[in-house]
């Protein structure tokens, strides 16, 4: 059995308010002292709402955000991908995995309160983990952030059985901080969340590629290159996903673009060699794999590649 303390009812919301008076909310203070260049009020009213059944806040919140992106799915279908009865809840990694299943990228945000507001202002609802209680007495809860009001100093959320609740910035910051500032933006692979780092965005795309979402991954790499045109990971990923989809000419040009920036990356030479071989260009392919071996003469993998490619007539 999974060893875990029995889940206790969520009274802790009130307790959090009670304790809220004693603790500080540094990001809230910073935000209010230096108001960001954003609309004072944003509310994404069109984000669908699915009231949660008992303990099913993960599937309900995820259904709202996935339907918002144009994929029709019910909380029950999502529950079959993320809910663990014994834990009476859903794990964060399975939330991300389920998002990928629907062809969407789950991009992790940087933990800054201001980034949440920027995403909302750009039209992106945010999927959050909250700890409504205490670190030593956690009450984990998934919610969708759909808006903020800088004049009223509160967040607007879809939460549990409530279509719309507000929570002050100060209290929100505390419950969010107790959940490790965990927040995801769920986007189609043609969309870049404005606050996403290259690392966070590409991590989501690489994960998509790894589980076989090749078309989505290819589109995600191309999207990343719009903002970060020299990013080697995006170029390499674009080449690999194009290769896996059988578009060897596109793979070749992506690997060549990456090698123009980083000619010392043996792995790129290795993959270029395969992209050339699949186009029947044996001499060019052998020249490419030779480059990989010049850079890393002792590498057994490249030697094996050379043997395979040179033996292929």
């Amino acid at each position: 059995m999974i060893n875990r303390r029995p889940r206790r009812p969520a009274c802790a919301f009130l307790l959090a308010i009670f304790l809220g008076a004693c603790a500080t909310s540094p990001q809230t203070r910073l935000l209010l002292d230096n108001p960001p260049d954003l609309p004072p009020v944003v509310e994404l009213t069109e984000v669908p709402f699915f009231p949660q059944q008992q303990y099913h806040c993960g599937p309900a919140a995820l259904a709202g955000i996935i339907n918002f992106r144009g994929v029709e799915v019910t909380p029950d279908e999502i529950a079959r991908r993320v809910y663990i009865p014994e834990l009476q809840g859903s794990l964060q990694v399975e939330i991300a995995a389920a998002t990928r299943h629907y062809g969407l990228l789950a991009v992790q945000l940087d933990g800054q309160l201001e980034s949440l507001l920027r995403e909302l202002a750009a039209g992106n609802p945010v999927f959050l983990l909250q700890n409504l209680a205490l670190e030593s007495f956690p009450q984990w809860h998934y919610e969708i952030l759909v808006g903020y009001d800088l004049t009223q100093r509160h967040m607007i959320l879809r939460s549990g059985v409530n279509r719309r609740i507000t929570r002050s910035f100060a209290l929100f910051e505390k419950t969010w901080q107790r959940a490790g500032h965990w927040a995801l933006v769920v986007v189609n692979p043609d969309t870049l969340p404005p606050t996403a780092s290259a690392q966070a965005y590409l991590a989501a795309v690489v994960e998509m590629e790894q589980v076989g979402g090749l078309e989505s991954a290819r589109q995600g790499y191309a999207t990343a290159l719009r903002r970060w045109p020299d990013n080697l990971l995006a170029l390499g990923g674009l080449g690999n996903s194009a290769y896996a989809l059988g578009d060897f000419a596109a793979a070749e040009s992506a690997f060549r673009a990456a090698l123009a920036i980083a000619p010392d990356q043996a792995g790129l030479w290795n993959n270029l060699a395969y992209a050339l071989a699949r186009q029947g260009r044996r001499e060019a392919s052998l020249e490419a794999i030779r480059q990989a071996l010049v850079l890393e003469p002792g590498n057994a993998a490249y030697r094996a590649s050379w043997q395979e490619l040179s033996g292929a007539q």
Binding site: R4, Y55, L309
Partner: protein, 119 residues
């Protein structure tokens, strides 16, 4: 070699690569491109996947769903929860408010009782 055979080689190379075999020919995966292509370090999560699938089954997930869910996770995600499912947050608040527990917790917070471990 005919193109079909080359294709077969590449597919086999891919498969072997995914299974973490050392020193096999083939494409270097995107996640490995910026490292030295030491293929041996890749993979080796089959046992971890089996362990997590067992935990899902024990946790009440139906068998075909459990294996599909494990397959939907990346190696990094597998490593994140391997042998740590118990400590990993599982969001699932029911939102029920119980007065007795509130009193209990307020007492705890104000130092009258001490029943909550690991504070």
């Amino acid at each position: 070699m005919k193109p079909e055979k080359l294709f077969a080689c590449v597919v086999i190379a891919f498969t072997m690569f995914a299974a973490g075999m050392p020193a096999q020919a083939g494409m270097v995966a995107t996640s490995q491109l910026q490292k030295t292509a030491d293929l041996a370090e890749f993979g080796n999560s089959a046992n971890q996947r089996a362990w997590i699938e067992t935990q899902l089954l024990r946790g009440g997930v139906a068998p075909p769903e459990a294996s599909a869910r494990v397959a939907a996770m990346t190696d990094v995600e597998i490593a994140q929860i391997y042998q740590r499912i118990d400590e990993t947050p599982a969001g699932g608040s029911a939102g029920i408010i119980v007065l007795a527990l509130i009193i209990f917790l307020v007492l705890e917070a104000t130092g009258y009782i001490d029943v909550i471990p690991n504070k």
